[in-house]
C-alpha cells in the first residue's frame, strides 16, 4: 500500500484521479494476496449483507441497460417494467447518428487526447522516475519531497492561473491554445507526481547489478534506461498507462474549461452537452449514450485486470 497524501479527486489535466489510481493498484494487490487471516462471522449473514449491497451496486447498471433498450413510451410508462418490450436496439444507432450530438466525433477526440496523454505521461514519468530511483545526485531527496508535496495542491487552486497561462502561451506563439486539445494533453508530457512515485517504487526493486554490468560494457545511461529498465518495467508501465487513459476518459472539468466548440468536445463533455440540450430528456437515448461511454471502461477493466494481477504478481511488485 502506498500511503501518500494525494489530491485531485474528480478531474485534473492529463493526470488520473488519484484515488482511482491507488484503488486499482490496491485492487490488483488485494486480488493477489491470499495470506491475510480472515475473520469468521456467521457465513449466511455475511452472504446476506453482501448480496444486499451488491444488489444496490448492480441494479443501477441493469436499469441503465434496460432503459437504453426501451422505446421512449416504454421508458416513460407507468408503472415502469424492467424488461424492455420490444428490445429497441436501434436506440444505439439513433444516438450515434443523432444530428444534435456527434458521439463518433467525440469518441475520436477523446481517443486522440488520450493517446497523446497516455504516451506522454508514461514516457516522461518513467524517465523522471528512473532519475529519482537509480541516479544518486545532490538535491534528489529534496526534489522528491517537493514532488510528493505537489500532490496536496487542490486542482481548483491552479485552475484559473493555468488557464490564463495557456491563454498567454497562445498570445506568445501567435495561435490560440485555448479551444484546442493542447491544454488537455501537453502537461502530461512533464510527468505526473503519482505515476513518478509509482514507477520509482518499481525501479528501486530492480537490482543495480544489471545496469552495472551494462555500464561496464560501455552502455550509456540512456541506453541502460531504454534497453534494460523499460523492458523490465512493462507491467508497471501498463498500470500507469491504464490510469492515464481512465483519467482522460473520465475527465469532465478539463474539457469543460478548455473546449468551446461542439466539434471538439470529448465524450464526457459531449454527453453532458447532449443531456442539457434536451429539456424533456429522451431517457432511452440518454441511457444508450451513457452505456456507450461506460462500456469501454468496463471492457478495459475486465481485459486489463488479469494483466495487472499477473504483472504485479510475477514481478513481485506491490503497489
Amino acid at each position: 500500500m502506498s500511503t501518500i497524501p494525494t489530491s485531485k479527486p474528480e478531474t485534473t489535466i492529463g493526470t488520473p484521479p488519484l484515488q482511482e489510481g491507488v484503488a486499482l493498484t490496491a485492487y490488483a494487490a488485494s486480488a493477489k494476496s491470499k495470506r491475510g487471516r480472515r475473520l469468521v462471522f456467521g457465513r449466511p449473514l455475511v452472504h446476506l449483507v453482501l448480496i444486499v449491497i451488491c444488489t444496490g451496486a448492480i441494479v443501477p447498471f441493469l436499469w441503465m441497460l434496460a432503459t437504453s433498450l426501451k422505446t421512449l413510451e416504454d421508458a416513460m410508462a407507468f408503472p415502469p417494467t424492467f424488461i424492455p418490450r420490444p428490445f429497441q436496439w436501434n436506440n444505439y444507432s439513433d444516438v450515434l447518428t443523432n444530428p444534435k450530438a456527434n458521439f463518433l466525433l467525440w469518441t475520436r477526440n477523446t481517443v486522440i487526447i488520450a493517446t497523446l496523454a497516455v504516451i506522454g505521461t508514461t514516457l516522461s514519468s518513467a524517465v523522471v522516475a528512473y532519475g529519482f530511483a537509480k541516479i544518486k545526485f545532490r538535491g534528489r531527496g529534496v526534489m522528491f519531497a517537493i514532488m510528493l508535496a505537489t500532490m496536496m495542491v487542490p486542482f481548483p487552486v491552479t485552475m484559473v492561473s493555468i488557464f490564463s497561462l495557456f491563454k498567454w502561451f497562445g498570445d506568445v506563439t501567435g495561435e490560440p491554445w485555448l479551444g484546442t486539445f493542447k491544454p488537455l494533453w501537453l502537461p502530461a508530457w512533464f510527468g505526473s507526481a503519482f505515476n513518478i512515485f509509482l514507477l520509482r517504487q518499481f525501479f528501486i526493486t530492480i537490482p543495480d547489478e544489471l545496469s552495472e554490468a551494462a555500464r561496464i560494457d560501455g552502455c550509456s545511461e540512456a541506453g541502460i534506461f531504454f534497453r534494460i529498465i523499460l523492458p523490465l518495467a512493462k507491467p508497471a508501465l501498463s498500470v500507469v498507462a491504464l490510469f492515464a487513459f481512465m483519467g482522460i476518459w473520465n475527465d469532465f472539468l478539463g474539457p469543460l474549461i478548455y473546449l468551446q466548440r461542439p466539434e471538439q468536445f470529448t465524450l464526457a463533455l459531449g454527453l453532458q452537452n447532449f443531456q442539457s440540450q434536451h429539456g424533456g430528456t429522451p431517457w432511452h437515448q440518454l441511457m444508450a449514450a451513457s452505456v456507450l461511454v461506460v462500456l469501454p471502461v468496463l471492457i478495459l477493466f475486465f481485459v486489463a485486470q488479469r494483466t495487472f494481477i499477473e504483472g504485479i504478481a510475477t514481478t513481485g511488485m506491490k503497489g
Binding site: 484503488a23 457465513r43 502537461p187 534506461f225
Partner: protein, 300 residues
Amino acid sequence: MPSLSRARSVESKNLLKGLAFVSPWIIGFVAFTAVPVALSLYYSFCDYPMLQKPTFIGLANYRELWNDPIFWQVLRNTFIYAALALPLGMVIALGVAILLNTKIRGQFIYRTIIFLPSLVPAVASAMLWLWLFNAKLGLINVALRAVGVDNPPGWLSDITWAMPALVLMSFWGIGNTVIIYLAGLQDVPRELYEAAELDGANSFRQVWHVTLPSISPVIFFNLVMAIIGTLQVFGTPYIMTGGGPARSTYFYTMYLYDSAFRDLKMGYASALAWVQLLIVLILTAIAAWTSKHWVHYQGK
C-alpha cells in the same frame, strides 16, 4: 588527493545525469505548479476580468468574500455534504471491506461487483442517477411506492432532499475506498487474531481491538483523501442540479468555477481558491495532529 577529486567528478557527472532525467518534472513543476500557484496568489489580490490585464487591488477580493452571502452558503453546503458523505462513506466502506475479507465463497464476484461502480465516469453516473432519482418514473421512487411510501420525495427537485440524494449517490462509488481498505486488511498479521481468539475475543471484539488499530494508517490515508475529495466536489452536482434548487446543492468548487469562467472574475475566483486551500490544509493538519493518538504504525 586523487580519489577525492575522482569522487567529485563522479558526483558532478551524476548531478548532470540526474538533472537530465528529472528535467521533465522540473520544467513541469515550474510551469504547471510553482508559477501557477504563485500567479494564483497574486491574482487573488487583483481585479482580473478575464479579458483584461490584472490590476492590484490589495485585500478587496477577500473583503468582498467575507461580505458575500453566496460564499457563506457554498461553504455551508460543502461542509454539510462533507459532514454527511465523509463519515458515513468511511464507515460503510470499512464495514463492506471487513465483510469482503471474511472467508466465504464468491468473494471475487462480490469484490468485483462492488468495485465496478467506481469505474463509471462521473458524467455517465450523473446521467444514470438523474434517471434513478426522477421523481415520477425513477427506480428509487417506484421502489418506495411499491413498499408503501405514498408520497416519496422529489429528490433533486426538492430543496430538502437534493442534498441527501447527492450524499446517497456518493455511496455508489465507494468501491475504490473499499478496495484500499481490503488491501490494508490483508496485511494484518494473522497471529494477532489467533492471540485474540485464544484470549476469548469474539469477532466484533477482534475487529475493535485487532483490525481497527492494525489498519489505522489506511484509515488515516482514506480520511485525508476523503477530506480533500469531498471539499472539491464538482462534476456530479454541476451536471445533475446545477447547484439548485434554490442553491441548496451549490458547492464551493462550483462557485469557484462560475466566478472564473461564467462571471469572468478571475481575481475573485483565485481568492476563493486560496481560502479553499487554506481550509484543506487546516483540516488535513488537524487530522494529522489527532492521528498521533489513534494511528499505529507497525513496528512501533
